[in-house]
Symmetry: C3
Subunit: 440 residues, 3 copies
């Protein structure tokens, strides 16, 4: 039952190639001005739908979503600050971070002294435009580089935000890869951020191409992909799919997967769910500066999936953890900041976890008393010589020793310190020699 995926599942997705593919897709998503609602989200979903049979859902403004309500759509057409000469000193057309996301409209002339209370900068990073939002409090504003702000002179400015809030709908995308079972692995990426490459064009692109590749294979689990605006989008999905929630056996929120930091995994609220163990195992063998963080209720949509009424086994996977890298939520989070090789490595980590989810089973030895005689079956030699052979033999000994029906392959990998893939390969070989059967 676990053989459809295995170690060779993604053999066509060579690391170089997939990294370039993800980067290319992220590049197409980057320029779009997204928000929690509106056409930016729809335009993004349309691009993702070129790769997978994406379902688009519209949730009518005002629909109750647990304690929340589906918000109005935000239409942004233009935004600028022009000086007395008519020159645009801040121009939304040049960078969509320039406007406070979900800003109220304004069209006025005002003195700099008044205007500057609506301008956001980062004095410590004076060349970068910050990313700021005001979704649930009515406000208007601009974001700009601090140095440009310092260069503005007193006087009157023309201030225009040509935006509109109107009833419409909240939009999110969903893709289901149906497996043999309705037991589901949820993979979710937020779609609400505008031109921020790592956060989260990277996650959107990676999950889309993962969905495409998974779609080509038979799997044991079903895989549900969610591309939804942060917080309100996951709440929308949860409130409209409460009967599906118990099917979620594993889950990952995916964001910021294109930079060279980390990798970082934040555990689910449960702390030692299967996804937490599988992720820890993969990262332990990944090398580099992998970090595993305990759950905390601040972050991305794992906050909603791990709320006490759901308490789903959903963790957060990132490269650099949010808030810890200087490019975070600034105009420096651009297409140069994410790189194909990092995207490929992130992709590989997630597919390694999927391999574990797909490939795990609980073997029972058919010869539990003493070791079976491997030599007579040619198994000591079957796997070739020297070091690789010795390691393969160790993997077989571990599997046989722990094949009491209480240990899954992942538990064997954890206890032995060997890679899951090696344990799984040994178990497969032993089963083919009738030395193992599946438990109960």
């Amino acid at each position: 039952m676990n053989k459809q995926v295995g170690g060779a599942m993604f053999e066509n997705a060579g690391d170089d190639e997939i990294g370039k593919e993800i980067h290319a897709l992220a590049r197409r998503l980057y320029p779009i001005c997204r928000s929690i609602t509106g056409d930016g989200v729809r335009e993004t979903l349309a691009i993702l739908a070129e790769h997978i049979a994406l379902e688009r859902h519209e949730v009518v403004t005002g629909t109750p979503l647990f304690d929340w309500t589906a918000p109005q759509e935000w239409i942004i057409r233009d935004a600028y600050i022009a000086d007395a000469s008519g020159r645009r000193v801040v121009d939304f057309r040049k960078h969509n971070l320039h406007v406070l996301n979900y800003s109220q409209p304004i069209r006025a002339r005002m003195a700099f002294a008044e205007l500057k209370r609506h301008i956001h900068t980062i004095p410590e990073q004076p060349e970068l435009i910050p990313y700021r939002t005001s979704y649930y409090a009515e406000n208007w504003g601009f974001c700009m580089a601090h140095n440009a702000f310092l260069a503005m002179e007193d006087g009157e400015y023309e201030v225009v935000i040509d935006a509109e809030h109107r009833d419409g709908s909240l939009t999110y995308g969903e893709y289901l890869h149906a497996g043999a079972s309705e037991d589901t692995f949820l993979l979710s990426a937020h779609i609400c951020h505008p031109s921020l490459a790592n956060d989260n064009c990277s996650g959107l692109a990676l999950l889309t191409l993962l969905a495409r590749n998974l779609g080509r294979r038979a799997t044991r689990y079903s895989y549900r992909f969610l591309f939804a605006p942060g917080t309100i989008g996951s709440l929308a999905w949860l409130s409209r799919n409460e009967e599906r929630v118990p099917e979620i056996m594993h889950g990952l929120v995916v964001s910021c997967v294109g930079d060279g930091g980390g990798p970082t995994y934040k555990r689910s609220r449960r702390g030692s769910a299967f996804i937490d163990r599988a992720m820890a195992h993969v990262l332990e063998h990944f090398g580099g500066d992998a970090t595993i963080l305990d759950f905390s209720p601040y972050g991305y949509d794992e906050r909603q999936f791990c709320s006490p009424g759901f308490n789903l086994p959903v963790g957060l996977f990132q490269r650099s953890a949010f808030g810890t890298f200087p490019e975070y939520h600034t105009s420096a989070d651009n297409l140069d900041f994410i790189r194909p090789e990092h995207l490929a490595a992130s992709y590989r980590i997630i597919t390694d976890v999927i391999d574990i989810v797909e490939g795990d089973w609980r073997p029972v030895s058919t010869n539990p008393k003493g070791e079976p005689q491997l030599g007579r079956r040619g198994l000591y030699l079957a796997l070739g010589g020297d070091k690789a052979g010795a390691q393969a033999a160790m993997a077989m000994l571990w599997v046989l020793n722990l094949a009491d029906g209480d240990h899954s392959l992942l538990a064997m990998a954890e206890r032995s310190g060997l890679r899951f893939a090696d344990i799984a390969q040994a178990a497969d070989l032993l089963r083919r020699h009738d030395l193992l059967r599946a438990a109960g």
Copy 2:
């Protein structure tokens, strides 16, 4: 039910003031020559009774107290060693440590060679008088500075200990602050040591003034204060109050709380009782060199409370741990060794623990599915800006996330790493907005 105490309970007991008050009371207790029985204990209790409605209990000599018996009273009137010229080279009137506590009487002339077998000194601390006792073996003796001992010449001395053992009673004091429940927090300080300021005038004074201050407030728990001679006094209370023992939910033995070391907490025998967790939490956030020790069956009256037949959740709170500071059980443990600021800090640690005991409850979210929308309720802003605001928001997120009825506020504080007071404040705010209710 937890609101009577809260963070503001001791608002009138400013740290400076309470430290000075405790020191002043300890100063009055210091000169009295106490022992396990006798008028020294009664005189001490009379002074404590000026602050609280203390009950004095007398246990008649010979009363069986589990495996023990209430001892005779010890009366000490005078004690000295005089040389041939009649000069007192050791004089109880100058320091009550000079006489072996609970010493048998003697009135004799004897050669130095014989006398010196009854003289106790500390060669390594030659200027200090040691504190020695002989409660349960008949003996007589003197304690003195080693240098003074070395200055004694051979020859005959007049040796007088004008003491008496006679049937009477064992005395201890008790104060009960009745709370809403009969569930009880026991606080105990030994009263048997003579002129040793830290060990334990400090504990007696601190608990007395804590009892006074608690008496002014309504509390959820009842608080029982015990001022009794070490070992035999706690055994007396336990044997006479066996039906009350199951009411003890939390307890602290308090001694040596006036020096600048530690703080030190020795866990109860249970190891992870609520008092152990609460104390660990307070000390973790106290800063400095707080030390938490595992239980061991040597120390103060926690030995009796934690005996296997009771196994009460009673730990030991000290600043420097007994036996670890050079002043311990010597004449250097005097009024200069204890200081108001240390007493105030010790007082604050204990009241912080009481705040946890009083303030702990198990919240259940009224919106367990997803996060409730805090912004709509003004809760993100309610607590002010910047860092304090962010921390308050984090506390709210933690409380909401763990509000499944299984986590008490202390468990939330432990898991989040936030202070109990911040968690409790967040929980209170959320409850006022009907976002929480109490479990069960």
Copy 3:
């Protein structure tokens, strides 16, 4: 019931003497050419039988042993490689490691080019003869020093292995010291290695003399000693004694106990069985570089005892761990490599563990409420003065405090950090004063 052994059990086995005795016995075993079957094993057992009433078991060739079959006997009479001049350049008579153990016979003249494919050396240790076997694959071969190999010239050689495989039986030895109970402590040493002093003449000799010494005492447990060829021998015992397997409460596989490394203990598969705890306790107090390893399914016969169908509480005791010392499986593992003082220390460690197994019991205090008054019974003084007295008093306090029927003496030793022997002595003293009784 635990008093037959106690701390003084081996009082006649002074460390120096026992170390010399073990070394002398190992010296007699060393020259014999053993294999998994054949007269080498019988000759070895005959020597062991001079010390203990050893039972010899013969398992007819072809007998099924779980997944295995009792192999044929191997008779080795001579083996050599002679050069053109007839000079023996490799000679089994000079060292029995020279022949591949269990080698097929050969009698041929062949070119060096062909011969050398059957010669095993260790280029990194060019003066040492390696130890190689080929039990379960038909093969012939020689082992020699790499330098001697390099000195061989091209040309034709006479190659003779005068060996024979024929039906007969597999041989192993067994000794049972019957105790008061059928609950059994299994001690096992492999007997199949030829002239390797540490691996495992040391283990065979140590266990034999331990068995002899145990035989002189009444014990609570029965002690079963097994001297059997690796893997197939323990499988033979297990398959022929399945009804006895549940009697095994504790067990140690013993090998490589004569060198100066370690000591090393590899836990049983259970990980925290009593034997694992007892061994950890003894090694913790042993000093030096004691190492405790988690179980792994590679090693000696613990592999069979800990197979999932048995999962016995059997660990592995060694000085240097197998495979970690340069002499391992080479001609350098000779009689100079093992030393009486190391053998004596290894013996002491095992007997300390036996003392714990024999001496452990669960006391219940007869005075559980408060401490009993030790002074009145002279117990504070009973154990002499100063440091030893203080430690003895601490041991008594710990025992009394934990004497709730849930803590065995080993648990008390673990929690207190005191030595088991001190705890046991305190418990004995307290029981003699009727302060303890045995639980249940």
